[in-house]
Subunit: 331 residues, 6 copies
């Protein structure tokens, strides 16, 4: 697809125990790199969209390894900045049955959190871009990260680029003195597509509706730039078995997707980012219901793939939407 | 069991990504060797049948490794021929949930495809044998492979040996100028037991019935040597969950097997070959319904075992048929 | 919890094939150490109970490795005795679907079986202890092991320490000349809590009731010291899918636990020991129904964890009992 | 370094047994991708040179995986062409002590060998480029590959771009009807820097001198475009221990490098390509002796790194040249 | 040995690439825990010395895993304190031949660095102890860590416990405002045994002698409590091959150890800590030359063992000192 | 080679820690099967000799796996007997540098030790055989094993088959009441080729010479059937570096082999068996000096291969003897 999407956000090293080993018993970790926004960009790159990710890495061998991983995944890495400091990381323990999966974050004081962003020329970054994506994680990390996010949203808005934001409220972040309501409304006000659940509406927009449609309408009242609002519904039968569907409010109606039974989950981390990526892709192609179905199907496939990134092709997603070649042995 | 079965066919190196890794993310492959006909022989060898497999391998260390693998699996390898050339191979990616499993073949121009078979003395090979098994893959590979298969079927037929053929139509093969209908009818005409579904009947026997019994009857009309026709029914709920049953036409009635719910599939490649092996074993022992039940149960167990080969004992299969010791912890 | 529990029993090296590999195809084993009684102690140690395990190991590097494993798991190893000889071991093959899991024991003539126990000063061992746990495996191993078990039960009983015994009748043991009925009744007679199913009652107490409550009452008649009797109900849908619940007879009524659907079993070995550990923990805390629910939930979680030991926290178990945080992604 | 280098050639999947396992005993292969020319490009990309590699891959998931590997390694992949067909591959067994390492090639009939190259616009490819690198492998593969190589050399020569060629005579190739002397002289005639040993001179330029300097002078007589000729000297004490040095003829004198004792070789495959990359880098920077020393040091470091690619920084190479930080523990 | 040694210091998670993989190519890390002082304690615990390590860990699953690792290694963990925060970590890349090994630290802002130590009752900790060991890393981490180290040294000194300090000057630490000369002299003034090289003397004691004996004499002049001063001499032939010896100044003469040729280094991280452990053990047993030889031999063996910890027995070290059973196959 | 060799002896499961891990740190073992005599047979099978091994295995899945391993290695397994019982095993820890390798045996009370051998018909076994090989391990295991060995030697001797015996005195065995001198002289008296060092002469033949030639002459005096006596000389520079040579007494002179520097040993277990295999092979081909050189070269190559078995070809050995292709990269 002849489009260009820019994403901004921290990328961490992900260290996960093999199989279903618990942290205490594992003397060996699988290593990849991941971050909510970069995961979206990787989805899009897999589907032929030109993508560049803006971030900061430590200027040592592991920062370089992370950069090479992004290139492997198809991202343009010219806006990766290198500075002295540490890379954030997170540890993943993959649950099974009734036992939950666990993530332990170790991301404070990272290069990205301390990055002042002065080296970013947003005009240049957004030149030729069609879409910009941010999440609620970035403004939650540090004052400087929040400032970078605001600069990006402002620049994109001025340049007439479509903007998406995954509100994604994380209680454990927001430790630098600001509260979501200090910052999020300003960002949302210039955003076209938001991913938000009722809790996110509460925490980030001070909207206290009980009904999703009512919340969507209120959000659009407050921030008329919003064209689309979406969220997923996940039913946690167990760590190994979830049901997943999505809804998309397009200002007129609340579209509902098919619901999928995910009976043998391999790795659910990154499932939301796969949804976000699918939604952006679908909306870039056009067709609200199609976009929603593509997003959910993309997210479902992510649950079958180890790691954060959704290494599936657009054809594979499209076939799942159509119910073709599902769970077969393709020769 | 005091019987001897001869199988003929290409054996490839199988390279599969570990766990549910996708090809793109895997820097490590598990290696075994497999081929539809040899997989049948391995099943039979596990169950105490004397088996020899006729094939050709490259005369280098990997050809030798493949030969040693066959010996490990219990096959007589005196009819493995070594020539200059390459070994065919295939790459396997194990799906999960809605994501399909994938096989990428790389088998063209292999030693087996180029093997002229002049070194094979079929009289000697079949001396003391009770059964010969071929599949529709061999005549699809090359003119010389088709010729070897014809020679084998003719020799076995003349020597009064029972013959089975898994019709197994593969659209991606048949690239050397001949079509299935040029060759398959002649082979089938001398075969006692065939595995065929409706598509196979169409492509290989020009039979266009919609009903399985009708197709079977038509096939017997055309090729009166056929005593048994069988096929499996597989319901692909997902890559992780299938239902499996089988039917066996014995010239009089269509026998139906129990249906099994395979809820946590480990590896479905080779499932059909396990069925074929079970059917041959069962028919060598006698009892049509018993043979069918043994075949399906054998195939079910294969789905729980990594690799192509069905390393289960005849006792384990027999217990599953009887519903004994199913899914327990045996001490 | 400010309690101290003593356990006694053999610990073996456990060698298990990776994933779902069969013994024949595996050239690599995962290694941990396990034993029914030590597994109980490990559960308790995880939950903050002070535990010491009494056993004998070979006085070579692997005996030392086993000791270090016990320390890793939180046990006090001051009562591990080192002697010339071999360590018992067992091989585990993890089934899937209809294919059963398999254990091959190689435990005869071990250091523990030959250990005369003269070095154990049970007064010292039980000093400060609240509970002693034994199983029916120990008296089944050898005359000397049976003697050690009797000494321990007698000493604990004299010192007024609560005693639990998992009757756990193993047909393959008891090869040294004695039968269960020669020995078990004496041990049971001083025990407060026993785990026993109908078969165990038959083999170890000569009780031939068909109904569980009747059997419990008879057992209490014979051995009035018994306060609690418990067992689990396991429904083996397949090797990958079991249902589990438990019952606890407290002398007045038969309490029933919730039943859990274990749909994606990772490793069921040690599931019974996890239950036992949970029951002891729960009874030490108090509350019969709570103890039973804690035991079953602990056992369920064990099925999601590779290896014999139940490395879960008391909080995780308690949450499962309450249905909180079940199968989620905890950040 | 603000330079751009273009490389052309086949890339194969490399399957190597782990550690020092022999082919026969290994059921697991490590997978990377490699090719003589791409290995050179990867070295250069590591050192900050802009590089693009021209090649053809199969249009399936493994062709895509290979492309992503090249991106990971820092290459511009816009000139990777995708066609129906197979990817060449090679198997590596890593020797030790007196036991040699072994490579088994399986590269015939690959997509690259069959690629007609019509889609390549060499003017566009070479636009902005400073250097073009080819090897004697490409014209040895097939008539079409030889034609592509000639087109590339001609176009680069016309556009005034510096050209290097690793003569690299491979007896096992050249099976399509042409002999080296039919083709190589024409390519060499337009090349500035060649890597050639005495055997290469014989086979590819019909030069039969016994002395290296005499051969170099003769080569320049025949092909006056040649500015530099180089080769390495390797002393095979064992598979684990080699000595390595290099020489560079610059038209005036034969420069000799330091000699390195490589006492614990990890992986020698790709050592020659690392040398070539070092030489190009050094000559782009300037200074004949410096370039030679950089090349040898780069090659030495390659021997310490698993895989084909020389993932070392220019600083690491420069430090080895200076004898700084050699074999230390850097914190 | 019936002695008790207390150590104090930070413990980090160590993440190392397998084999000789570089950071950029590794998608899998081996995980252990290590720290200079705990490594010393582990050596001593292996040799039968009672050891307790004082440190702080995060109060999450990975902090618990670290604690269990210490117990596995034989340490008394009652003085491990748990607080909110992160665990420091370091990444290790194992060099080979001329390529150096690399450590990337990520230890700032750890729980230990932020630990105020108020919960430590040094009187209780040192009760029954014979020796206290600290290193120059602790006062370099943070003001609070320096304070804890001073408190410990003061308490031990007052209680008449022998004290050792590995001066171990690390340029990359000391970032909290203090310089080594602000703090180290005070600690050294109460220490009996120091490990220091000429650079350490310069940076930590302001001693600028060129000769080791002269520096030792000056150090004793300044800090008369010092009884012993020691250091190792390492000759870095390559990352795979070092020579190692040690010297011990006992106030009268400079003793020299045997020199060892370490020709096939497996892992040199922790080699210095193994030396330190050996020296403490040897001096606790008595005999200056014996202690020195034990220390060097212990360090040599460490280089043959993966990970930070020196899992060798005292017998193994003693045999190496005597030249018995060196490099044999012991059955 | 058109010869048939019969070997007799116990085969154990070999469990070795990966890389250079110590027992205490390893949670994973590599698994193969090995035994001194079977290792000899595997060498010979690799070199085209027809071989059958006589042994007894447990009649469970691991006994079957061992049998399949022998078939993989090319042995005729028709004389493998299956009985109730355990398989002996041994644990291997691979040393490095000054740290010795370690083997812990756990072989007592195995199926082979308890096997009465009544099912063996030695006339049938030796029918068509040219050579029989035994070692001093078999008579050391148990009275019944000694009896089997005697029966075999007697039968072979009567049938005029050449006999070799590796005297191989193992102090830890011989625990069933007999001493070597009770049994070995009788076996040696009918043997043509023995491998014996001075200690073996002492313990097994009561020969107390200090000089090897004198001992050989004395041995031939005592047992005139002996035609050849041989032993290896191993210089243990370290666990990673040995020197190896051999001598062969042919009744006339003591032939000396070349000496090899084995500088990077991968696995030395089985090195003596590889020598024995080489000697038998060489003597079957003819030429005393050639046989000796082949034997030493075969043993050297074994040291480069993980596991007990010497998976090298006769060509590879012959090339090493000639100094061709040593430590190269063969394409």
């Amino acid at each position: 697809m002849n489009k260009r999407v820019i994403t901004l956000g921290e990328i961490m090293m992900r260290l996960s125990t093999p199989g279903h080993e618990r942290f205490v018993s594992s003397n060996n970790y699988n290593v990849v790199f991941g971050g909510a926004e970069a995961n979206v960009a990787i989805s899009l790159a897999n589907w032929g969209v030109s993508t560049a990710h803006v971030t900061a890495f430590p200027n040592h061998d592991i920062g370089k390894a992370a950069t090479q991983y992004l290139r492997f995944a198809g991202l343009d890495t010219q806006y990766v900045f290198f500075e002295e400091g540490r890379m954030g990381l997170y540890f993943v323990e993959n649950g099974a049955m009734q036992r939950s999966s666990k993530i332990i974050y170790d991301r404070f004081d990272s290069v990205f959190a301390n990055f002042d962003g002065k080296a970013i020329d947003w005009k240049e970054v957004f030149d030729g871009a069609d879409w910009f994506h941010w999440t609620g994680i970035t403004p939650a990390i540090s004052a400087s990260a929040a400032k970078i996010c605001e600069d990006a949203v402002n620049a994109a808005h001025e340049m007439g680029i479509k903007i998406s934001g995954d509100i994604n409220y994380r209680r454990n972040l927001w430790q630098y003195g600001k509260q979501p309501l200090d910052i999020m409304p300003g960002l949302i006000a210039k955003t076209d597509l938001i991913i938000a659940g009722l809790t996110d509406f509460e925490n980030c927009m001070d909207i206290h509706e009980k009904e999703y449609i009512a919340a969507c309408k209120k959000a659009q009242e407050i921030s008329p730039s919003i064209k689309y609002i979406s969220t997923t519904h996940r039913d946690n039968i167990s760590a190994s078995h979830n049901k997943l569907s999505g809804v998309l409010w397009n200002g007129k109606e609340l579209l509902n997707s098919k619901s999928y039974d995910m009976t043998h989950i391999v790795d659910r981390v990154g499932g939301g980012d796969a949804y976000m990526g699918g939604l952006i892709y679908g909306l870039l192609k056009g067709g609200d219901q199609d976009a929603l179905e593509f997003a959910v199907a993309a997210s479902v496939l992510k649950h079958s793939i180890p790691g954060d990134a959704n290494f599936v092709s657009a054809d594979e997603v499209a076939q799942l939407v159509k119910g073709e070649n599902v769970g077969k042995l393709l020769r």
